[in-house]
Symmetry: C2
């Protein structure tokens, strides 16, 4: 078992003056802690997947049976904040993954690539979303084709580009891959991280890397009104961080066939942003936090009321046992956050990144 | 009127030991010749669109009403020949275009971006191909969504990525763009280039940059059997180089609306590779070249027999008057090629780039 990391999330946080709520130990310390609690050894490679020479050495030395690919810039607002960050996102994600595909082809062609995708690739079409492919009947003929994509940010676009590149590598080179089109993750810990505080995983709450439920819980603890963007009718698929790991494990244990590009929609329940705000407000009140819900101007360009009904049966068919969201989990999150209250950086909470800058430089003068 | 060029096609030819059949003059000489024959001045900017500082200066200085974007690596085999060239292709095309979208947003938001796409984005699905979008009825609901893509090379993938990025820029930032999903171009000259030999355009026949009909005509002249890949049932849309310019002109004269990403399928007729080989064989015989048709092992991974029926009415509706392909045009191409016979580099003709390398380095030992 090996891990590849270039600490880019830590770097991006530094750049933005933000940090994980939970203190993240150094990689070596986390690997030692895991060895102590589990007896298992993890080898580490420190470098970037965009660095072809580095990545080729990793694949040649490890000859992996499976690669779990989480090595991408994962924030939509990060990708929308500037041209530089948009380019950084698409370069890191698309070119990094393209490098990986070539090295798997050349050095580990039977390897199963388990790739983190996103439900955000689909956007919010007015029809039911299928898992990766859709049978289309058109003018009397039929074919099953990739589900059309309407991604909502330049980050989500990078994942769409990846999906097309990986699909191609499977079709043409016979590679095997599972794309985990993940919903929005919430939660703080798993059974593994709970064994030793040195193993704790990150809990981001800033406008770039924080996800909505985690952000709402933190806002409740620090007394910040819950920041619902616009009407709050935006509906997405969600899952507990514990379930994400179950899903990855199920994918690895049941690999795709050679030449197959398999797509799983990885979430367990769907909620609107307003529903989540109401859940957090109610749960917080039960433990003594009185908090308002604030409908702030939406910094994103997105539909605030829309149809949403994505299929998500393939992981259930493989045996996924979901942990559903409820008041109890929210209350436990609030308590955990409270213990780290002094680490909260207040300036990181409000949204600043605009999808459509109001007066781009120069445009007013044209 | 300004032109932006970094001479990359010239560089790539040098790298491969190949060249255009027709001698291409330097940019300054071509601009002078155009000034002499037309009285029109073209300003030139020499640099790469991946160079953000350079490209921003171009957009700020020219404040374009329209950008005709041909600035991409355009060869499928080039993109499949190595990891380095795959990365170069997707980097140049995707990041270069992404830079352009940001600078249009910031400095020329009303500009009409006319982008060269390719029919190869669609691949060969088993249903009729529409122009960019398809109305899908699914489980009792309806939506009009981007037509699903099955591109056949890492170059074609870069164009799919571009299409998604540009569509997003139109949806989110309100830019306006027309994507010209062009078929395979044939022909040597236009009314403009015929006015002065210094204006002649390139005629590529090598395995990287040559297109099939041009390659067959050249093969006929030099006595090389016509290289049909596999069965030859591969069917594509084609158009005369004269019609490509008509199409660009029609797009520019009839701009897309603000926020609109419009897709035109830009070809006039469809042929299979075998039909083209037979046409060239017959026309060549009429002018004294006896030539064989050789079904060589297909270096590409593609369907050699398939359904193909793409819609292409939008440019006709705007007034496109096609020049159709026939024996007379082929005979005139053969004569023009014969005049440049001594410039042919014989080693450039046979296909070498394999879509699926037979024994990738290291794979045999795994």
């Amino acid at each position: 078992m090996s891990v590849v990391d270039n600490f880019s999330r830590r770097e991006w946080h530094k750049r933005n003056g933000t940090d994980s709520l939970t203190p993240i130990r150094g990689l070596d310390e986390r690997i030692s802690a895991w060895r102590e609690v589990s007896g298992n050894e993890i080898a580490s490679y420190v470098g970037a997947i965009e660095d072809a020479e580095f990545l080729e050495r990793v694949i040649v030395e490890t000859k992996p049976e499976a690669v779990i690919h989480y090595g991408e810039q994962a924030s939509a607002p990060f990708s929308m904040a500037s041209r530089e960050q948009a380019v950084e996102t698409q370069y890191t994600n698309v070119i990094g993954t393209l490098n990986l595909l070539f090295f798997l082809r050349d050095h580990a062609p039977d390897c199963h690539l388990v790739k983190l995708g996103t439900m955000g690739e689909y956007g919010t079409p007015n029809i039911d979303i299928e898992e990766g492919y859709i049978e289309i009947e058109h003018k009397g003929r039929k074919d099953t084709l990739p589900f059309p994509k309407l991604p909502g940010s330049l980050y989500h676009l990078s994942k769409v580009h990846d999906s097309h590149n990986i699909h191609f590598a499977c079709r043409i080179w016979g590679l095997r891959s599972t794309d985990l089109n993940q919903g929005v993750v919430y939660g703080i810990e798993t059974d593994e991280t709970a064994q030793d505080e040195r193993l704790c995983t990150r809990f981001d709450y800033d406008e770039w890397f924080g996800t909505v439920l985690n952000r709402f819980c933190l806002q409740a603890v620090v007394g910040h009104p819950l920041t619902v963007y616009g009407k709050g009718g935006q509906t997405r698929g969600f899952l507990n961080i514990r379930d994400t790991l179950q899903c990855v494990e199920l994918a690895v244990e049941n690999p795709a066939d050679a030449g197959e590009f398999r797509v799983f929609n990885q979430f367990t329940e769907q909620f609107s942003v307003s529903q989540l705000a109401e859940l957090v407000q109610r749960s917080a009140a039960e433990v003594g936090f009185e908090i308002d819900i604030d409908h702030v101007e939406n910094p994103r360009v997105e539909l605030e009321e829309h149809y949403y009904n994505p299929v998500h049966t393939k992981l259930l068919d493989l045996g996924l046992k979901p942990s559903y969201l409820g008041d109890e989990l929210v209350r436990s999150m609030l308590k955990t956050i409270e213990r780290q209250r002094e680490r909260v950086i207040d300036s990181a909470i409000d949204p600043r990144t605009q999808w459509k800058p109001a007066s781009p430089a120069g445009a007013a003068t044209s």
